[in-house]
Each structure stands twice: as C-alpha cells, then as structure tokens.
C-alpha cells in the first residue's frame, strides 16, 4: 500500500527532481518554502504537468511510466486547488454533481450526501459560487473533490488563500476527513500549524528535491533537519484519553512515556488525540521535582543534542518510544552535563491538544 513517484521536470528557473515512496494511507504533508516545487509535484501526480520522464504507481495501479502517461481525467483522484475554482455557471449542487455524474456507479464509495454532510454545506446547495464566502467556497470545492470517491486526494494549500477566521472555520472539517474517511491524502502546505494538525507523514521539499520523508513525529524531532531548529520546534505525541479528573476538571492522556494532564476535553475514554509539546516549553531536571506547579513530568533519556545559535542547545529525548524536544541554554547543558544516554526528567510547562 504505497505511492511510488519519480519525476524530473525542468523549468526555466528551477528543476523538480524527486523520487519518493509514501504510504497510501493517512495524510502525507508535502512541506517546504514557497517556490520549492510543492505545487508542481502535486500537479505532476495529478497528470496536470506535461512530464516526459517519470514514474507513478498508486497502490497497484500504474499512472505513469516512461512514455505512458494516464490522462488526468482517467486517474481516480480528487484535487483541491488553492483557490476554490468553482464553476461559475453552475450552482453548488451542480458543481458537486459535475464530478459525481462522471464516476461509474460501481466506483462510488463516498456518496454526495456524505460529502455534503462532512463539509456542512447542505444549506448552500442552491447558491451560486459568487454568493459564497471564501471559506464556504473552499468547503464546496473539498466536497466536490471527495464526491468523486477518489483513491487519492490531492490538496494544494487549500487554506492559504483564506484569512485566519476562515482557516479556523475549515480546519475541523479537514480533521474530520482525516478521522472518518479512509482516503490517502497528499497535502501541500507551508504552514507548520496545518501540518502539525493534519499530517501523519511528512515529505520535506527543498529547491525541487526531497530532503527527507517519514512519520511526522519522527521528522519534527530529527536534529539533522531544519524543522527541529526553528523558534517553534515542537514534538507531536499520539495519545489516548485515559480518564477525567472531575474534581479539578482535567483530562488525562496516556502515551508510552507516561500521562499528560490537561484541562478538560469532553472526549470519551480511549479516544485518540494528538498532543503538541513545543521545545521551548520543555525544561530538564536531573531529579524528579516535587513542589512544582508543573503536572507533566516524564522520565526520559537523551537521544541527541545539537547547538542552536550560539547560546542554546536542542535536546532530543525519548520518553518511552516517543521523541520529545527540549530547548535549553548551552550553559544549562554544561551545568547538567547533558549528553546522549543520560537519564533525566522532562517537564512540559504547557501542552496543546490538537484534535
């Protein structure tokens, strides 16, 4: 169950030269700065870029090999463009039907009703595209792409053209897609926050080349990649709801390295959640602290250390089998004698529950 792609596309000002293999399940984010070739890669997967030389296999279906290139309308994919691009001469319902009608009944697995319900666009069906807000338009565009029952959903920065309020309006829908539909998604983005919320896998693209790819939790904490060096370096931890503390209105989240205590979230026990811990919120102590207001303290082992700037160090820790990041001053690192293999305690001053 993988997607195997290899493209070489030469443009006047840049060359996209990628070979990658990604799992054909979950959300794979293609992340990188503007102009690194993210959109071109996505368009090549959709068959929208003329590409003489390439290879693309999705599951067991060959979409491109050498001179053979399956035309885009024969590829069972859904594509969400950066701008909603609804057909202006059709109302919302007919925009949705445009794709559905062209999919043979036997291949329909996502009904139009389901797509309408998932994106909450029932009340908009009779509207024309120009009567919708930017956020509504993008929701319709996502529903339209889903309603063709794609075997692969391609999303090109679907939130980039929207303001913060609209982004917040759509994000829950994207998260529910992730949770409720079993369609692999390739999601192009340059927003770390979107990636943290949605992605299971991450492909890091830089000047037309794949710099690294892998599971999101692993990729974010790899000290050899730029992601772990930024101001907002963070670790993502998959946890499950273990219980609630009714007395103090808190929720307990369990992962292999211990338990998080967070403010109450109304989720059933056993519900999976994604927790974000920012490197700057993690401090290190050699002994377990008592008499501290910090609730989230985990035993951990230092995995690697690298300098960040002249005064600080980024420390990669393993809490259970989960990597965490902590940013400490170089002085602290010297005083505590931090080095790989050392056992200590990580204290997280604040953690954010993402879903």
């Amino acid at each position: 169950m993988t997607i195997e792609a290899q493209f070489r596309i030469e443009r006047e000002d840049f060359v996209l030269d990628v070979a990658l293999e990604i799992p054909a399940r979950g959300v794979t984010a293609v992340f990188g700065p503007s102009g690194c070739g993210k959109t071109t890669l996505l368009r090549a997967i959709a068959g929208l870029e003329s590409c003489r030389d390439g290879f693309l296999r999705v599951d067991h279906a060959l979409w491109q090999q050498g001179a053979y290139c399956m035309p885009p309308h024969k590829r069972p994919l859904g594509y969400v463009f950066q701008e909603a691009s609804l057909f202006p001469h059709l109302n919302v319902q007919r925009n949705l039907e445009y794709g559905v009608k062209r999919v043979p009944a036997a291949q329909r697995r996502v009904s139009m009703e389901r797509a309408i319900e998932l994106l909450g666009i029932g009340p908009l069906l009779r509207h024309r595209a120009d009567q919708l807000s930017g956020g509504e338009r993008q929701r319709v565009a996502i529903a339209r792409a889903l309603a063709v029952s794609p075997r692969l959903l391609l999303m090109d920065e679907p939130l980039a053209a929207l303001d913060l309020t609209r982004k917040k309006e759509i994000m829950p829908y994207l998260e529910s897609l992730h949770d409720e539909l079993d369609i692999p998604v390739i999601y192009v983005s340059h927003s770390p926050d979107e990636v943290a919320r949605l992605a299971d896998n991450l492909v890091l693209l830089e000047t037309g080349q794949v710099k690294a790819s892998g599971l999101i939790g692993e990729m974010l904490t790899r000290l050899d990649l730029p992601l772990a060096h930024g101001e907002d370096a963070e670790a993502l931890i998959e946890a499950v709801v273990a219980g609630h503390d009714e007395q103090f209105d808190l929720t307990l989240l369990e992962f292999s390295g211990g338990r998080f205590t967070v403010t109450r979230h109304d989720l059933p026990i056993g519900h999976p959640v994604r927790v974000r811990v920012t490197a700057r919120d993690v401090s290190l102590t050699l002994e377990r602290q008592s008499g501290t207001s910090i609730l989230n303290i985990f035993p951990a082992i230092i995995d690697a250390i690298t300098p960040v700037g002249s005064a600080q160090m980024m420390v990669r820790l393993m809490a259970g089998d989960v990597p965490l990041l902590a940013r400490v001053t170089r002085k602290s690192a010297a005083v505590l004698d931090l080095k790989p293999g050392k056992q200590l305690y990580a204290q997280a001053k604040s953690v954010a529950v993402l879903s």
């Binding site: 959709a46 068959g47 929208l48 035309p71 885009p72 309308h73 024969k74 994919l77 859904g78 594509y79 463009f81 701008e83 909603a84 691009s85 057909f87 202006p88 001469h89 445009y98 794709g99 062209r102 999919v103 024309r128 595209a129 120009d130 930017g134 338009r137 339209r144 792409a145 063709v148 053209a161």
Partner: protein, 227 residues
C-alpha cells in the same frame, strides 16, 4: 419593394445564415487553437485572420476572382475536374463572405476562450471530464457571450458587405445580387424611395441585432472565474 428587391433580401439572409454557420463551425476550433497554442509563429496566422479588417474588400474580391475564376489555379482545377468554377455563383459569395467575415467571428471567440483560462479545465479534468466533454460542458457555457457576439457580428457583417460580393458575385439579380448592391443600383437609377426603404430596413435590423447582443450579455453575465 419590388420582386428583385425581395430576391436580394432572400439571398442576403441566406448568405448571412450559411456564412455564419460555416464560420462558427470553422472558427470555433481555429479560435480555440489560437487561444491555447503556444506555437512560436502563431502570430502569423492571427495576422492572416485579421487581414480582412484592414484590407479594402475590393482587393480581397479581386484576388478571389482571379483565384477562383476559370483561368485561376483553383477555378481552373475545378474546371479540370469537370466542375463549374464558383465565380458569379452563390457558392462564390459564400467563400468570399466566409473569408471576409472571419475575424468578426474568430476574434470574439478567441478572446472569450482566452478569458476562461486554464484552471476551470484542469478542475474539470480532475472531475473525470474528457477533453471533448470539458469543451462542451465548461468552455461553451463560459464562452457564451463570446459565441453570441461572434454570431451576431458575423451575420451582420456579412449582410453589410459590398465590395467582395460585387467582385466575386457579379451582381446578377436573383442569383448573386444582395441588398447592399441593390441599394447602390437604386441610387444609381435615382430611385431614392426604394433606396430609403432598403437602407432604413437594414439600419433597423442591424441596430436591433446589436441591441439584442448587448442586452443578453448584460442580463446573463457569466461570473468571473476568480474568487
């Protein structure tokens, strides 16, 4: 209106209708190609299509006469095959009109196609529409104002032509005489009343056609594609 005026009216309408239909059939793929192609020498073809806009109609008519006549390369070839050269026939009028009114159909279509851009077609492709399907379900509806303008301009311009049809048609009453030439003949014969009737009728008809185009394009605007 006398009998030969009526015949001229029928011929004019028939000529304009046939010419417009042929131009829509030929002009649509040509305009599509011109709007989409990135061929380096595309401008050559664009210049050729636009030529009738600036060329004196008599010049076009003259060359057509020479080419299509029995001594000309095309006319001679047709005669060699056993056919009749199309000069001084209705077919000749149609050939001349198609060439002469070409830019009036191709240019509005080309503009309309270009304005649609690439994106709606790419979206349609990802929604499983084949290229032909995309053309009829996306391009044609979005380019509707262009088609309307092209149809009316092509028709009206064919009704109004004089020099080309005079040259290649030869002003044979009942066969190749069209209204604009009939008006000229009336004026030559100092029959101003006749000339008034025909001229007034053409003026009213032309104005009405343009009015229809502008009103329809205003009433059913196709939304701009941007968000």
């Amino acid at each position: 209106m006398n009998e030969s005026d009526l015949a001229a009216l029928v011929i004019t309408l028939k000529l304009a209708t046939v010419t417009t239909l042929i131009l829509l059939l030929l002009g649509t793929p040509l305009a599509w190609w011109l709007a989409r192609s990135r061929w380096r020498f595309k401008f050559l073809l664009e210049a050729v299509v636009a030529l009738p806009l600036v060329l004196p109609p008599t010049v076009l008519g003259f060359y057509l006469l020479v080419t299509l006549g029995p001594r000309g390369p095309v006319g001679g070839f047709i005669e060699w095959l056993g056919g009749q050269p199309p000069v001084f026939t209705f077919t000749g009028l149609v050939i001349g009109s198609v060439l002469y009114s070409m830019p009036f159909v191709v240019q509005p279509l080309q503009g309309a196609f270009a304005a649609i851009g690439q994106r709606p077609l790419e979206v349609a492709a990802t929604l499983r529409a084949s290229p032909l399907d995309r053309f009829f379900t996306i391009v044609v509806p979005l380019a509707r104002p262009g088609f309307l303008t092209a149809t009316v301009l092509g028709f009206a311009h064919t009704v109004g032509e004089f020099g080309v049809v005079l040259m290649i048609g030869g002003n044979i009453p009942g066969q190749t005489q069209v209204l604009s030439i009939a008006i000229y003949d009336h004026v030559e014969a100092l029959e101003y009343a006749h000339a008034h009737w025909l001229s007034g009728g053409l003026l009213a008809a032309a104005f009405l056609m343009l009015l229809t185009v502008y009103a329809l394009n205003r009433r059913f605007p196709v939304g701009s594609y941007d968000n």
